[in-house]
């Protein structure tokens, strides 16, 4: 007679063993050194798969671009020309300011700041886990990318390279819960720590005293402390400040400047004076 209630023999103990093995693997993944080598290997394996999965979307996007009418193209072209003109005007003002800044720095005897070289990188994949904020971009070791290299979009800092293969790299976004970076308020030079909280739309600022001079709308840029990022890269804008006199610190949220959910093109910038690869 066939039994209705079947208990898998011995699998209780085996499942406990598998749970212990999973715990061990999760622990090993978070221990430095070992994890880096394996993360690099994972990117080597998974990058081609993400390219493949992203192919239909890219094809649709290309098709959409080709199918737009002449009027729409002319409109977009006019809009881009207007944006280019505005950017060129802003650049002219910046060139004057840069020259003035260089003269002042030489008068003060301060070291001259050099513009960091940038490389265009295209997004090929996003981690499917919504709690884990990682991108895969199409530049790797062969292109001179290194661990710790900052990734930016047109508006601000997006993240940092954490794993590499020959032709792709994984980038940890500034909004990931495991990410923290030193920032500075542009208005008054106040130095703070911004942390990701697993939300693509916001960062949190830790240990902000209630009486600190911080306002909604303040722009936060990288401070250069920690030697990870060059100073002055836009990071976020303060969006809310909740001050409660019963608590020692205010609750501060900031909106990242980078458009993390919309962009597909990013810039990888090299910052040799501050962050040599071997230091990271």
């Amino acid at each position: 007679m066939e039994r209705i209630f079947v208990r898998p023999r011995g699998w209780g103990i085996r499942l406990t063993g598998l749970a212990c093995l999973s715990l061990l693997l999760a622990y090993l993944q978070n221990s430095a050194g070992f994890a880096q080598r394996v993360d690099d290997a994972i990117i080597t394996i998974s990058a081609p798969l993400y390219r493949l999965l992203g192919a239909p979307r890219q094809a649709l996007s290309a098709l959409e671009t080709n199918l737009v009418s002449g009027d729409v193209r002319a409109e977009r072209g006019a809009e881009l020309a207007r944006q280019l003109l505005e950017a060129q005007y802003a650049l002219q003002s910046l060139q004057v300011l840069e020259a003035e800044n260089r003269r002042l720095r030489s008068l003060l005897g301060a070291a001259e700041r050099q513009a960091a070289p940038a490389m265009l990188a295209e997004l090929i994949g996003v981690s499917p886990d919504p709690a884990r904020h990682r991108f895969i971009v199409d530049r790797g070791r062969a292109d001179g990318v290194y661990i710790g290299q900052p990734l930016l979009d047109a508006h601000g800092l997006a993240g940092q390279v954490v794993a590499l293969s020959e032709h792709a790299s994984a980038v940890l976004l500034i909004t990931d819960a495991s990410f923290a970076l030193p920032v500075q308020v542009v208005r008054n030079g106040l130095k703070l720590i911004a942390e990701g909280r697993g939300d693509l739309e916001s960062l949190t600022l830790r240990h902000v005293a209630n009486n600190l001079d911080l306002q909604v709308g303040d722009l936060l840029v990288t401070s250069g402390l920690g030697r990870r990022f060059p100073p002055g890269l836009p990071v976020a804008e303060v969006s809310t400040i909740k001050r409660d006199p019963r608590r020692p610190f205010a609750e501060v949220r900031a909106v990242p400047r980078a458009e993390l959910t919309q962009n597909r093109q990013f810039l990888l910038i090299s910052a040799p004076p501050l962050a040599a690869p071997e230091d990271l």
Partner: protein, 161 residues
């Protein structure tokens, strides 16, 4: 001999489809609503093909998915192993229930397995909020009746009985 080989095809096929569903790029806002199809596949295979899909096989499949999805190692592996184990534990008892009760049982299994995997996610500070784990389990369990129909395990009339 050929029939023997053919009987093994559904397992990798089901896993490949589940992986494709798990890795397919979605807009960030919709990513929280993605059903846990690999866990559902683990329950299904654990029930209908226990001799071909043990909790150890489920664990290895989950580890592969953890690797491909850049996730915390062992998190999906533990989820799939737990889902497969619970399904085997429940076994044919599940089919004594109506389809609605079966769906609820599947939601319970997926919820328990999801919470087990989520404990490991917290190691890398990427644990899901409890409501998201619960919501995903309920959402995924809703796919149980269509899965049974599509696989020919239940006739469309059965749901009405």
């Amino acid at each position: 001999m050929n029939a023997g080989w053919g009987s093994w095809v559904p397992v990798p096929l089901a896993l490949a489809l589940a992986f494709l569903f798990a890795l397919w790029p979605l807009p960030s806002a919709a990513a929280w609503l993605r059903p846990a199809v690999p866990a559902l596949a683990a329950v299904y295979l654990g029930l209908f093909r226990p001799h071909q899909f043990s909790p150890a096989t489920a664990w290895l499949a989950g580890l592969t998915l953890d690797t491909l999805s850049l996730s915390t190692w062992g998190a999906t592996a533990l989820t799939l192993a737990a889902a497969s184990y619970c399904a085997q534990l429940l076994g044919r008892r599940l089919f004594a229930y109506t389809l609605v009760k079966q769906t609820l049982w599947v939601a319970v299994i997926l919820g328990l397995a999801g919470f087990a995997g989520n404990v490991l996610q917290s190691f890398s500070l990427t644990a899901w909020p409890w409501w998201a784990v619960l919501g995903q389990a309920l959402l995924t369990a809703l796919l149980w009746p269509p899965l049974l129909y599509l696989s020919g395990r239940v006739s469309p009339r059965a749901a009405l009985v």
